[in-house]
């Protein structure tokens, strides 16, 4: 279970402190598919980076299965990201000079899977998201947007994460491909019993998730 309590994050700027998040509280049960919606600058990405231990909150707590990740050391946060979190980005963010297979194997290496088992696990994951053997050996530049996002999802799921954080996973795709990616995430959340939290502008997608949080000016309004 993911429980966020009184989470705040402020940034310093030339014009003074800016509150990106202000006393946010939310709970997502294990295996739920939740969405976060809001306008640009509402604090969606900041919330996602705090949930993924990419940044440190100014105050408040983020408990994942009873552990407050805000209080982890830098090394523990890195291990947390490697083993408990999977990221899916709007622009995929695959490593350009590695093949699809190597991109997934990279996450497995960081997750501590022995080298001998990485290739088989990566091939299985890529097959599960719909990439054939030929596509698995291609570099990102030779894959379509949808295929790249599938690789990104396979990479996110590589280490059996407790939570997958998706930052507008369909934002860079056409509607048909976007729907397929959403369906894939939805199916995986069910089959892998993984909690998925997706930031989206697409109200159709948000409407199909188990839970939706609306952010406005750094506060959860619904």
């Amino acid at each position: 279970m993911l429980a966020v309590k009184d989470l705040s994050k402020s940034f310093s700027s030339a014009s003074g402190d800016v509150k990106a998040l202000d006393q946010v509280n939310l709970v997502v049960e294990t295996g739920q598919f939740a969405s976060i919606i809001g306008k640009s600058g509402s604090g969606k990405s900041t919330l996602l980076s705090l949930l993924g231990a990419l940044d440190i909150p100014t105050s408040g707590s983020i408990e994942v299965d009873g552990v407050d990740i805000a209080k982890l050391s830098a090394g523990q946060q890195t291990a947390y990201r490697a083993n408990k979190i999977g990221f899916v980005f709007q622009h995929y963010n695959l490593i350009p000079n590695l093949t699809a297979l190597e991109n997934v194997m990279l996450a497995l290496e960081f997750g501590g899977l022995p080298a001998k088992k990485r290739k088989a696990r990566a091939e299985q994951l890529l097959t599960d998201v719909g990439l054939d053997a030929d596509q698995q050996l291609r570099k990102p530049a030779r894959l379509s947007g949808g295929q790249q996002q599938r690789v990104s999802i396979a990479r996110a799921l590589a280490n059996h994460p407790a939570i997958v954080l998706a930052d507008e996973p369909t934002g860079n795709l056409d509607s048909e491909t976007g729907k397929k990616i959403f369906d894939l995430l939805h199916r995986l959340s069910r089959s892998e019993k993984t909690t998925i939290i997706a930031v989206t502008h697409d109200m159709d997608i948000a409407g199909k998730t188990d839970k939706t949080f609306k952010l406005k000016d750094g506060k959860v309004t619904a």
Partner: protein
Amino acid sequence: MNVVSRGIKNAFRSPLRSGAIILMLAISIGLILSMLVARTSVNAKIDEVKATAGTSITITPAGVFGFAGGGDPLTSDQLATIKPTAHITSTSATLNDQLSTTDTNLVSSLDLGSFGARQQRFENGSSNSSQSDRLATRPAPTPRTTVTGTTNPNSVSTNGGDLNITSGSTIDGNSSSLVALVGSDLATKNNLTVGSTFTAYGSTVTVSGIFNTANKFQDSGVIMPLTTVQNLTSQAGAVNSVTATVDSSDNVDSTVAALTTALGSKADITSQAKQAANSVASLESISNLALAGVIGATIAGAVIVLLAMIMIVRERRREIGVIKAIGGTNGKVIGQFVTEAMTLTVIGAIVGLTLGVLVSGPMTTSLVSSSQNSTSTTSRPQGGPAEIFRGGVQSVRTNITQVSSSITPTIFATSIGITLLIAAVGSAVPAWFIARIRPAEVLRAE
């Protein structure tokens, strides 16, 4: 695929850029090797020059220069004082004399000429006679034959090397035999060959060998053992020139000072310390230039790697954020970039060391040749005691041009060490940049 293999793979991500970096590094490392080789070769030559050139000190009786001047010859006691002086490794003593027509049956091979006539103008004249009377009554002057009694016949050589014996064999300078080496001009003039005899000071002397120095004065003379000449001229123990060899030109000044103190005002001491210092100074300037080259090329190499890696890290800032976001540690990311820098540096080193091996020889020779041209030293013709400066300058010049460029394991190890230093310096700052990149930046860039 692990950190190392990813780093190596990344090094070839942009072949054009990597090629340019490798080329610049190769030139830099090639220059480092060439400069190290040049410096080592030149330093070896400096030691050699110090040990061989300009190390001779000539001691003559005070007031005597060749057959001119006046004073008493050096004595065996003074010779005994010279030999044990610190830093002197060997000595050779010489007693010169001239054979007139009454002393020998040899006919001089030198033309008297106006110079020779002027040197003899005071002889046989009366101090009370007028100038016209003296010129009218004096017998016609005749050229003389120079006799060199020496412990070392090679000291008569004019090129700093061994005496060129064209026929027969050399003589033992420490013996007291009635044997002689005859100059080629004198031998021709008197139809002398090996085994021939001639008279000198009333004794019969056997020709042991004929020598040729390409110096008309020397080739018109006779060389005999020192003791033989001392005995024939009734000058037991007397010498009029001692040449002492010092272990290093660095010690010439101190040895001259010690000899001056020991011999006092009874001897004139001449050395080539200044000439040797000048020659070594030009080599030392090359050595310093080479060291500056090593330092400059090292800095240039480090800056090339540093700037290239900073550029690469800045360009891949987002990628670094992604790697950190999916669980990559700072150590792994830094390791990957250090491996990338090392790969570029090692390839640059291989190409550069190959280039260095090819160009170090010609570069060293070129450096030394240009230095030699810019520090031209002139030798002036010497008469009389030509052995004082015999071949000194020529010897130094020959030594300089013989600088051999060789690549030793030490030089190679030093080059590789410097290469690793370049990679370490070139990677350190980018590593610091990498450590500062926060993974959250990957989401801010979305």
